[in-house]
Assembly symmetry: C2
Amino acid sequence: MTDSNSNNLRLIFPQWQGGNNESYFFGSQLLAWLAPAEKGLTAEVNVLPPAGIPLENEEGIIGRSQVVSQLHNARSLIRENRPDTLVTLGGDCLVSLAPFSYLVETYGEKLGVLWVDSHPDVMTPDQFAHSHAHVLGALMGNGDEDLTRDITHPLAPEKVMIAGIHDPLDYEAGFIAEHGIATCGPDEVRQGAGAVLDWIQRENITCLAIHLDLDVLDPAMFRSVLFARPGRGQHDFGDAAEGRLSISEVIELINIASASAAPVGLTVAEHLPWDVINLKNMLALLPLLK
Amino acid sequence: MTDSNSNNLRLIFPQWQGGNNESYFFGSQLLAWLAPAEKGLTAEVNVLPPAGIPLENEEGIIGRSQVVSQLHNARSLIRENRPDTLVTLGGDCLVSLAPFSYLVETYGEKLGVLWVDSHPDVMTPDQFAHSHAHVLGALMGNGDEDLTRDITHPLAPEKVMIAGIHDPLDYEAGFIAEHGIATCGPDEVRQGAGAVLDWIQRENITCLAIHLDLDVLDPAMFRSVLFARPGRGQHDFGDAAEGRLSISEVIELINIASASAAPVGLTVAEHLPWDVINLKNMLALLPLLK
């Protein structure tokens, strides 16, 4: 059993290529600036900063070569440090692949993955070229070989709980049903997350890796997510489910779960602070500042 | 004539007491972090950080003693450095009082004040106890003695242009009419700000102090302002005018004006990054981070 005083590694991971959106890069920098000071180690994954050049679709994955290179760099940093616990500040959702696969290797069957997200992230290049939507599937050994090649211990589907999910696409719903993955919708989360506690008990989970995709939050109440882009049209994001939870509901969920199983991994991902970015760009155009 | 390469002082001024809202303090820290690096001098005004204790109404001004002490500290920092140009990063709108009164003293009749704001900020304790709404009036020598005592060179009303203003309260409309202050509404700004250029020419203005209250921006498009508080009710802010301009419209306005008269002062004020604050507070409650 570990706790928050043990050997922690904080990984700053400003990956933006997995979501094909340059703004995740700044989102990561701001997230790192906002987080409480780290008492253990901090390392930053090498990520090519945005340069305003569109990424290419490389055999079904946009920016594949950069994504894969970053994945390897993240793995190296983790292996060099061999932490007991890992905090990852993204970046897009794919940032969880290296740290969570390390945690599965380290903790084995004791580990449960609590995926707090509106979406299950189980697609493959056949469905979507943005690899941030492939990450949970890849952790289970499913999907593109570049993402699964180093997964020596695939995450067992029964060790996964997706909380906050609603209205999955047909492919996603099929994958979840076929693999028997536990889920818990926004209303259930609000009502005390009993399904999460049942899952922890049923699966004998004593360690938790928690992935928090900020897009699980209601974009009308927390505007630093994809779906809160200023001036967006109602249908700009197609059929993708949009977040329905409040910050306090998510904190409550995570705290309830963490009281039943020791947290050993935490990822915060998909931070898109539109207003901060727009303000930063504005300041750079004002007299006496520019 | 000065330019942006001359002796500039950047004043970090995290005043929150003038708006009676603790969040301006963090708003100032974030604004300072976002601004391009300063090539000249930087100084920070001593501001008592928020401590969760409500401020008192001291004879008509909430937090009077702190506000006055900060005003004196700002004046001292400016006088020690005697800059040619001044950038002030607020904090609430009252932060412009010390720097702009210094610029009036320095540049005299050559100086025009371009007040980019939904509101005229000409109230006194008789109308409102929040001194951030008193600042432009105080610069003209009007209002509470604690704010006007050191104004040796009151700003002449004809040297003021309020841009972006709309629907002033009765008292404000009366003050503007009585003093013959030029104004330019959001639609006029959008149509090229001809009134601003006419004012610069008519008043022989060759130097500009520009006060940018971020609440001039449409809160539906830029959510880091008072009026964009998450979950606000429609009438939560009473009769106060809400911003109607976009960031690009404001940049265009300021650039047009700055091409006709040299900018010697710039204030950016009223930054309330609700989502960033809420995220920061959330991070501090998550396992492995807290």
